[in-house]
Structures are given as structure tokens and as C-alpha cells.
């Protein structure tokens, strides 16, 4: 299985296969992960998690060797994220502020998979499902069934021609959907995406304030904190200090991922006012667990079952 997975990955990387990858689930998975970065598309998707629904406009194009992306949430305060490769600009028209913000390294839908197919296959049983017609495109379901109770299941619908993920559903242990991403309109191809790449806000404000503070925060740091008992398959992908709203001191953040699910561990001084109790909540696919630990406060948040957040929160320790 692993050998086959590795072979599939190598073959895909080597040839950048675009054709539909037969009946190999891992090849489908690899192609779906790749398509979010390599395909050109423009559309609107709806994200539903628990009681919350957000509508987001996204355009993505690869021009030459450059990846361009524009993301504009259509609900709530207006802002947009404009990406050129690793340079990410955030425009806030109300505050007339633009920031080069390299903290925004995360990919959003349709980039739902961050790990390689073999890494994902270690934690999930990957299966091919049926073919469906979605937004006029033919679309094949790929099911990621968790191998243990420490992560949610995921089903993604991958467009037959490009591999692009058109729908994604996170499932709980009873196989009920708890989080949903779906395109409501979509055009695939460079023609559709390219005209849509420029900031729509840039021209509306005469003088933008620029701020480079976030640049300092992207640097990988040793926070001095460690998770001693992360669930199998979860590996640390980032460690940094960042400013959070209403806090005097930077907060340590450790990000873990199993290639699909992500969780963040935050450690900060336990004050203003100090908490004495563990607290937790689940909303949609998101779990939150907070734990006072001496003079520090540990908060774990992620798209994982609550048991996972709890296990991680209770195994945070000073690095020896």
C-alpha cells in the first residue's frame, strides 16, 4: 500500500499528469491537492461550519510561473487578500490599510489538502466514491475515512478534467456532515480567472497606510513549548509568536497537521483575568479546549474532534 502510494506520488510529480487518474484513489487525491495551486479558476463558494455560513469570492490563476490569487469574503467587514506567490497583501478599505502579511500562508478552499497523498493515507483510508454532476462539471467523490477517532472524515468532490475540488464535506463519527464547502458558481480556465486578479479595493482609497509589522511575526521561532503526546499522524508544521487582539505580549502558536486536519496550540500568560477552569466547546468541525497550566494558559483550537484537542492541550509542556 505504502509502496504503491509512493510510486503514485512519484509518477504524478514526475509527469504532472493532468488526465483523469484511472481508479487509483491516491492518484485522485494527489491530483485534487495539486489542482488548487495549478489550475486557473474563478468562482464563489459557501462555507458552512456549525451555525455559521460565509460566502467567499475566489479567483486563482497561474500566469507563467507566477501564482496569483484574490480572495474576498462577501460577508462581514470588507477586506480582500491578494496573493502573488508567497507575497500576500491584505486590503482593509475601511481602515485604509494595506499590509504585506506573510502570516497568511494558509490555503483556503479549494485547497483542503495540505499533505502528500501517502502522508494522508497513513491517517485516512482513501476510497473512490461515485461520480456526480456539480455546477455542470463531472465530479468524482474521494472519501477519506479516518483510521482512528482522533480526526474527522472528509469527502471531496474532484472535477474530472482538472482535479479541482468543487465540494468538501467534513463528517463526524456518525458520518453526519458537520462542515461544508461548496462552489455556487465556478468557471475553470485562464480566460475566466485572469481579469479578476487585481485588487478591487486598491483604486477606491487614495492613500493606503502600509504596515510591515506582520513580517516580523512570520519568522519561525522556538517558543520553548512542546506537545509531548500529539495523536498519531499529527506533525508540527509551524511554530511562531504572534500578536493577538487585546494582549500586551505576543502569544506562542504551534500548528499541527495530519495532512488534512489542522490544529493550533496557543500558549500565553494566564492573566487578565486568570482562568482557573478547563473549558471546551465544539461548533461544527471546530473544537476548542482551554486549560490553565500554572502561570500559563493553553488553548487548543482546530478542525478535530474534541478528544483530540483535549489530548493535545493536556500534553503541552516546556521543551526540556
Amino acid at each position: 500500500m505504502t509502496a504503491r502510494a509512493a510510486a503514485a506520488a512519484v509518477a504524478l510529480v514526475a509527469c504532472a499528469v493532468k488526465a483523469a487518474p484511472g481508479e487509483d484513489p491516491l492518484a485522485w487525491l494527489q491530483r485534487a491537492a495539486q489542482a488548487a495551486r495549478s489550475a486557473s479558476y474563478a468562482g464563489t463558494f459557501v462555507h458552512t461550519n456549525g451555525d455559521r455560513t460565509n460566502t467567499v469570492r475566489i479567483s486563482h490563476a497561474v500566469v507563467g510561473n507566477d501564482e496569483h490569487e484574490r480572495i474576498e469574503p462577501l460577508d462581514g467587514p470588507a477586506y480582500e487578500i491578494v496573493r502573488k506567490n508567497d507575497e500576500v497583501y491584505c486590503y482593509f478599505p475601511d481602515a485604509k490599510t494595506v499590509r504585506l502579511d506573510q502570516r497568511v500562508t494558509a490555503r483556503f478552499f479549494p485547497a483542503v489538502l495540505s499533505g502528500s497523498a501517502p502522508a494522508v493515507a497513513a491517517s485516512y483510508d482513501v476510497k473512490l466514491g461515485g461520480t456526480e454532476r456539480v455546477l455542470g462539471y463531472e465530479c468524482r467523490w474521494i472519501r477519506l475515512e479516518p483510521r482512528d477517532a482522533m480526526r474527522h472524515g472528509l469527502s471531496v468532490c474532484s472535477e474530472a478534467g482538472t482535479g479541482l475540488v468543487l465540494r468538501a464535506r467534513t463528517l463526524n463519527d456518525k458520518r453526519q456532515p458537520i462542515e461544508h464547502y461548496t462552489f455556487t458558481d465556478l468557471k475553470i480556465g485562464a480566460q475566466a480567472a485572469r481579469p479578476d486578479m487585481k485588487s478591487v479595493f486598491e483604486a477606491r482609497v487614495k492613500r493606503w497606510l502600509t504596515d510591515s509589522q506582520p513580517r516580523e511575526e512570520t519568522k519561525a521561532t522556538d517558543t520553548g513549548w512542546n506537545v509531548t503526546n500529539a495523536p498519531a499522524g499529527f506533525f508540527k508544521v509551524a511554530e511562531l509568536r504572534r500578536t493577538l487582539a487585546n494582549r500586551e505580549q505576543p502569544v506562542s502558536q504551534l500548528i499541527f497537521s495530519d495532512g488534512v486536519a489542522r490544529l493550533s496550540v496557543f500558549v500565553e500568560p494566564n492573566k487578565s483575568p486568570p482562568r482557573s477552569a478547563e473549558a471546551s466547546n465544539e461548533d461544527g468541525a471546530t473544537s476548542f479546549f482551554v486549560r490553565p497550566m500554572g502561570e500559563s494558559l493553553v488553548s487548543v483550537l482546530g478542525e478535530v474532534p474534541l478528544a483530540t484537542a483535549q489530548q493535545v492541550a493536556r500534553s503541552v509542556a516546556r521543551r526540556p
Binding site: N54, F92, L209, T243, A245, A277, A279, D283
Partner: protein
């Protein structure tokens, strides 16, 4: 036995210990019933609809009279809070939530969420304590790497920085 089951449920057992506990659990009807009960209580605490109860009256009675089953070996009083994730960036998190914890010291706590508490008499040694709900939104923004508008409001500092670069 009870201890072992409870540890198993808390995920504190591994390898041979877990195997032994599972075998013990499957071997006796009494243990099976306990296992089921623990999960019903767990579901209720998390605010999910409880799984079907074979004999609800017995179960509810058991919840009232056996407050030690869920957290038998804590060194400090166990506390449990339900908080709400903020509905959206523009909506503040719910202000205050209640939790029911124990003052009985180690080995005698059944945290029960206030929401699921109706109709069930909590053990007599429980007290209600209130603590402000954590504001989850900053963590959520940082986790999702969403640029939060409040971080971008031009403060005196970055105004100065902006004019310095101009």
C-alpha cells in the same frame, strides 16, 4: 473495574492495559451497562442528544447518585465550561457561562453542563461557579490565518511607521 472503565473512556490506557479493560468490559453485562452509561453521560455533558437509554429512570438515578464515575482521579477540582464560538468576526462571544463543578476534592466530580441539567438532580456536593467564556475569535482568526480587521486599524504606531516610509 469502574476505575479501569473510566480510564479507558478517558483514553488514559494504552496497549495491554487498554486491551485488558476492553476484554473485561465485554465480558460482563454489568460492565457493558456501565460503559453505556458513561457514554450517555458524556453525550449529555457535551450537549448532544443522549443515545437511547435502555432504562432511563435507572440511568438518571445513577447520574444523580454516582457522581464519581467520570473524573475519578483528578488532583484538583474538575471544572467544565461550555463556551460558544463567536458567531462571526463582528459578533462578540457570549459573555458568561455556567459550569457545575465539585468542591469535594479529588475523586468526586461530575461536571454537568447547565444546559442538560434540567430534570436531573445534581449530586448534593456540587456548586455553581461562573467564569467568563474565553473569547475564541482571536484564536480562530490566528488558526485560520484570517487577517483580522482589528489588527489592521491604523494605530499610532503604524501610522508613524507609514509616514516614516513615505
Amino acid at each position: 473495574m469502574t476505575q479501569e472503565l473510566s480510564s479507558l473512556m478517558d483514553g488514559e490506557l494504552a496497549g495491554p492495559d487498554a486491551e485488558r479493560a476492553i476484554q473485561a468490559c465485554c465480558a460482563s453485562d454489568d460492565a457493558k451497562a456501565k460503559w453505556h452509561l458513561y457514554h450517555v453521560i458524556g453525550d449529555a455533558m457535551r450537549g448532544h442528544a443522549p443515545r437511547t437509554l435502555a432504562r432511563p429512570e435507572t440511568t438518571l438515578q445513577a447520574i444523580g447518585t454516582q457522581p464519581t464515575v467520570l473524573a475519578p482521579r483528578r488532583s484538583s477540582p474538575v471544572t467544565f465550561t461550555r463556551v460558544a464560538l463567536a458567531a462571526a468576526a463582528s459578533v462578540a462571544t457570549v459573555g458568561v457561562v455556567g459550569w457545575i463543578g465539585s468542591q469535594g476534592g479529588p475523586g468526586s466530580a461530575v461536571p454537568v453542563s447547565a444546559k442538560t441539567n434540567s430534570g436531573i438532580q445534581p449530586a448534593s456536593n456540587t456548586v455553581i461557579v461562573r467564569e467568563a467564556a474565553p473569547d475564541v475569535q482571536p484564536y480562530l482568526n490566528a488558526h485560520r490565518q484570517l487577517p483580522a480587521p482589528e489588527q489592521y486599524r491604523p494605530t499610532a504606531n503604524n501610522r508613524a511607521a507609514a509616514s516614516a516610509t513615505r
